[in-house]
């Protein structure tokens, strides 16, 4: 008697999952091809205005995405150790430690990317980024272009802030033109802006379908798809793939299907970067209890809608880690209310002091305003040494039991 072999069906090339996965993979392939052609390529921080390299026709890679991929495939600790052996503290962001190690060893079985000729850094995501990229620039002896977008203590972005940041955008374009010989054209920018708008609108529409019960998707999907939102928003393929994603979610709503392959008993919001080394454990801990993570701040964060250059500048001043607590809270409260969220699960991420730091007070305010329980667990986005599955399980079970008892069970 032969053993039955479970065949995995080939991915549908017309599906959003396939298209989005291909865009993410192609980013590395395209950058390597550009490098092989002798073009200069860059490494770019995740909230640097992607429209600038895209309009100039420059290929860039995103160390944060690569570090997440390496961590998810089990290489995080190995690379963190290399950086720590070189003297970097284990208190530093694990993405930084992984990337600084990669810049040194230049080859990993998990995910390679071509070495950079220049660096694009923006501190609207965190200030650790500045020292990380400065060290890269020094170690690799390459130029670093930085855009300073300070944390905004006010609720709205002021004209003065827009003027301050716009001047830096223009300077960054000029520096890149001089460095690479590529030219900025208004026509190309209009095209990129149009694709970026289309991609963003489709992303916002797709993620907003979580308002349906059950949700047509598993929120963990968003953690994968957002890679395209970060790196490829201004590309035609990204706009098309996101529109397919939205269409698929709409079909799921109509047919009652979902990419969440379990009965949706509870709906939560997940806060923080994914715990990539333990993605399966964190996801299974929820799914086994019928908990669907229906939304995250990423659903809102990567919808960059603007009509002109100044609007683009303003959008980059308004990203989650650069806005004040009240504004950040209100965005989350809206997501929670729109998507009928019953509990908040917060990843206290050792790597990200900024994000984890403001979440303690923000969770309290959100919990109070939305009348939902919130629970925090310790972990790390890429260093596997900072997570305990038993501690995570207890917290998630406690959260589940509270959500159940609010519904009259337990």
């Amino acid at each position: 008697m032969s053993n039955e072999v479970k065949k995995k069906s080939p991915p549908d090339p017309n599906s959003a999952k396939f298209k989005l996965g291909k865009i993410a993979t192609d980013a590395y392939v395209d950058a390597q091809a550009a490098k092989d052609r002798g073009e200069m390529i860059g490494w770019c921080s995740s909230n640097f205005p992607v429209e600038i390299p895209e309009t100039l026709g420059l290929a860039v890679c995103y160390p944060e995405n690569q570090a997440a991929g390496i961590a998810a495939r089990g290489g995080g600790e190995r690379l963190c150790n290399i950086s720590e052996d070189d003297g970097y503290s284990n208190d530093i962001c694990a993405y930084a430690r992984i990337n600084l190690a990669y810049a040194k060893i230049k080859d990993t079985p998990e995910q390679n990317m071509p070495q950079p000729d220049f660096l694009l850094c923006c501190n609207n995501i965190c200030n650790c980024m500045i020292k990380w990229y400065e060290n890269l620039a020094k170690n690799l002896n390459i130029p670093m272009i930085i855009i300073d977008i300070p944390f905004n203590p006010d609720y709205e972005v002021s004209d003065a802030q827009v003027a301050y940041v716009k001047a830096q955008f223009l300077e960054a374009i000029k520096q890149l033109e001089e460095l690479t010989g590529k030219k900025w054209t208004e026509e190309k920018f209009q095209e990129v802006m149009e694709y970026s708008g289309r991609t963003s609108r489709a992303w916002l529409a797709a993620t907003s379908e979580a308002k349906h019960t059950p949700s047509p998707f598993n929120g963990f999907d968003l953690l994968n798809h957002m890679a395209v939102m970060v790196t490829a928003r201004g590309k035609k393929e990204a706009a098309e793939a996101m529109e397919v994603l939205h269409k698929e979610y709409l079909e799921n709503v109509e047919t009652g299907n979902s990419t969440f392959r379990a009965e949706e008993k509870h709906r939560i919001m997940f806060e923080g970067i994914a715990c990539w080394p333990y993605l399966r454990a964190t996801s299974t801990g929820l799914k086994s209890r019928g908990i669907n993570m229906v939304t995250t701040i990423y659903a809102d964060a990567f919808g960059f809608i603007y009509d002109d250059f100044d609007g683009m500048v303003k959008a980059y001043c308004n990203v989650p880690n650069a806005m004040n607590l009240e504004h950040a809270r209100d965005k989350r409260v809206k997501l929670i209310k729109d998507n009928h969220v019953e509990g908040l699960l917060v990843h206290t991420n050792r790597s990200c002091k900024l994000w984890s730091g403001f979440m303690a007070e923000m969770s309290r305010q959100i919990s109070e305003e939305c009348e939902i329980p919130h629970v925090a667990f310790d972990g790390d986005q890429a260093d596997p040494r900072n997570f305990s599955e038993a501690q995570y399980e207890t917290r998630v079970q406690g959260l589940t039991e509270i959500m159940e008892s609010k519904k009259g069970g337990c």
């Binding site: 919130h374 925090a376 501690q391 399980e393 207890t394 406690g398 039991e401 008892s405």
Partner: protein, 248 residues
């Protein structure tokens, strides 16, 4: 062990760390003492960190819900529960309907947990239940500021080496645990009455330090350590009641 959801007919405590051997031994002892057998038990509910691995259990519930159920069974007016156990510390908030509505647990490490006190008692070469009596004799508690258990251990050693009294050091240790847990309690919000469950509730030094930090009286009982088990037994009874078949 609970009969008809209201009468406690057996309790047993064993501090054992390997797998579920301790729980199995407890079950055997408690049944023997009550002259009962496994067949007399309608439902076994497991709780705590080994809850998923205890084969005789029919169900499992987190210690968060169990402590809430146990405390509310004996003290229905309680609205905040502070549970300092061996592996973690937690503060539970109970709503006016007597239902657990939110909780906060320790982060990062063992500071603020019972294990912290175990380690300190070990280096002071005394049983952990001795700490309370000695803390009471302190005139001027020492400052133990490190949150890391190992660093705090070296802090204790150096304080003693520089002439600090054992009593003052012990009071400082109790204050250190209380300060960590009070931080959790303040974050989630204190609502009276406040009750302390878990093994550390027996330590008057920590209780008093917590009362001082939180500026509220803290209730406790000799059975504080059993509250999680009691809550599990209550929950087991609720499950049987739902099912509708009880052993005579």
């Amino acid at each position: 062990m609970l009969e008809d959801g209201e009468r406690i007919i057996g309790t047993e405590l064993l501090v054992a760390g390997i797998g579920t051997v301790g729980a199995e031994k407890i079950m055997e002892t408690v049944l023997k003492k009550a002259d009962l057998s496994c067949d007399d038990i309608d439902f076994v509910m497991a709780t705590g960190y080994g809850r998923r691995n205890f084969d005789p259990a029919h169900g499992e519930l987190s210690e968060l819900s169990c402590h809430a159920k146990g405390v509310l069974f004996t003290n229905p007016q309680v609205r905040t529960i502070i549970d300092i156990g061996g592996q973690d510390a937690k503060v539970l908030r109970i709503n006016d309907e007597g239902i657990l509505e939110n909780f906060m647990m320790n982060d990062k490490c063992a500071a603020g947990t019972g294990r912290f006190l175990d380690v300190m008692a070990h280096i002071l070469q005394m049983p952990v239940n001795e700490l309370e009596k000695r803390a009471e004799l302190s005139g001027n508690p020492a400052k133990i500021s490190s949150t890391c258990t190992v660093f705090a251990e070296s802090e204790v050693i150096s304080q003693l080496a520089t002439g600090e009294t054992v009593e003052n050091v012990i009071a400082g240790i109790c204050n250190s645990v209380a300060s960590r847990v009070a931080g959790l309690a303040k974050r989630i919000g204190i609502k009276e009455e406040v009750f302390m469950s878990g093994g550390v509730a027996q330590n008057g030094g920590v209780r008093q330090a917590l009362e001082k930090e939180l500026k509220v009286p803290i209730k406790w009982s000799e059975t504080s350590q059993m509250m999680g088990a009691l809550g599990a037994a209550i929950s087991a009874y609720e499950q049987v009641k739902k099912r509708g078949v009880l052993n005579e």
